[in-house]
Symmetry: C2
């Protein structure tokens, strides 16, 4: 965003770097609920191999900024499903595992496994106008269901039931999922930080 483009009463615009339509939909909906516009920016994407989502997201953000002239504030999100009985698998490689093994493969790995505990984690790396990067994270605990349920969401949502609910993420409305999800938590943290920062020191 160019300085001066945002006047009084004009909503903050955040640029998201993603090729994932499911994520884009959730971020747009999250933005609406907070009075923030979320738009997609196009930039080359390079993700490192790491078990730390925060490192993956932060380096993706730095590289995207270095490689192209993206508008700011912009953000990159990396998320993963971490299953305790599988030592954190599929974790940072969730999208690759979804494409190869799929939901069925993960259910097969969990056949006969009593410990169903898992969590989703989101790491958002925010690129500021001065090129610096700030990372926000969100986690939601839950369990892996015995079978896939629901048509909503994306990724491993049909087999993840968040703590305190009897529905999977895929059985929830986008709105409900966003209120409790890892992604929603990280996004709200970012917006809250940005609002304070813009009042005090950002242009």
């Amino acid at each position: 965003m160019r300085s001066g483009e945002r006047g009084e009463g004009k909503p903050l615009t955040l640029w998201v770097l993603t090729g994932n339509e499911g994520k884009l939909r959730e971020f747009k909906s999250l933005g609406e609920s907070l009075g923030v516009r979320v738009e997609r920016a196009i930039a080359p994407k390079l993700e490192i191999q790491s078990e730390e989502l925060t490192s993956i997201a932060a380096l993706s953000a730095v590289l995207a900024k270095a490689a192209s002239s993206i508008p700011t504030p912009a953000f990159v999100e990396d998320a993963g499903l971490f299953i305790r009985a599988l030592k954190g698998f599929p974790g940072p490689y969730s999208s690759y595992v979804l494409k190869t093994l799929g939901v069925k493969g993960v259910l097969k790995l969990m056949e006969g496994v009593e410990d169903r505990a898992a969590y989703f984690k989101s790491a958002i790396a925010l690129i500021l106008p001065d090129g610096s990067v700030k990372v926000f994270t969100g986690i939601v605990n839950g369990s892996i269901t015995l079978e896939a349920r629901g048509e909503g969401g994306f990724g491993f949502d049909p087999i993840f039931m968040p703590e305190g609910f009897s529905m999977t993420f895929a059985e929830m409305s986008t709105d409900l999922k966003n209120r409790i999800s890892h992604r929603g938590k990280a996004f709200r943290e970012m917006v809250s930080w940005l609002r304070t920062a813009f009042k005090t020191r950002l242009p």
Copy 2:
């Protein structure tokens, strides 16, 4: 390698960037069989997420060279096991999958699966004194066994039986494995190329 360090009759020294003791052992043995010294060099390692082993290895090599003053010629290897029935899984993420699901997890995914076809692929990125990078690859076809067999090798070797053999990689001597393996093929290609190149245009 500093220019002039290699005289007539002195063996070529290749520096390998790896933290994997199994790989180091195989490369040293491969080197011996070809009259080449293989020594470990220390450099920061950064691997990207990609389904192309050649891209992972090449960028790792470029980044290692950029980040530190490693001796040359040096090389980085990336390898993976690609299982057809699992759409190539675990592929480029084989070491992460080994650490989380292990050999047992992959056998569980393959329970009841008739198509056992798989291949190992190795991609070696060679960094030359002038900073340029050349990539060599090797593939060995085979199948996933019904159970783990053998104590040798490393990684997924106990469940991989190369075409034309009734032993797994883990049941073979290092020497025999090297003669037929993806890694051996890529390494021999590299050495053969280097020998020709040193004769004609490398310092």
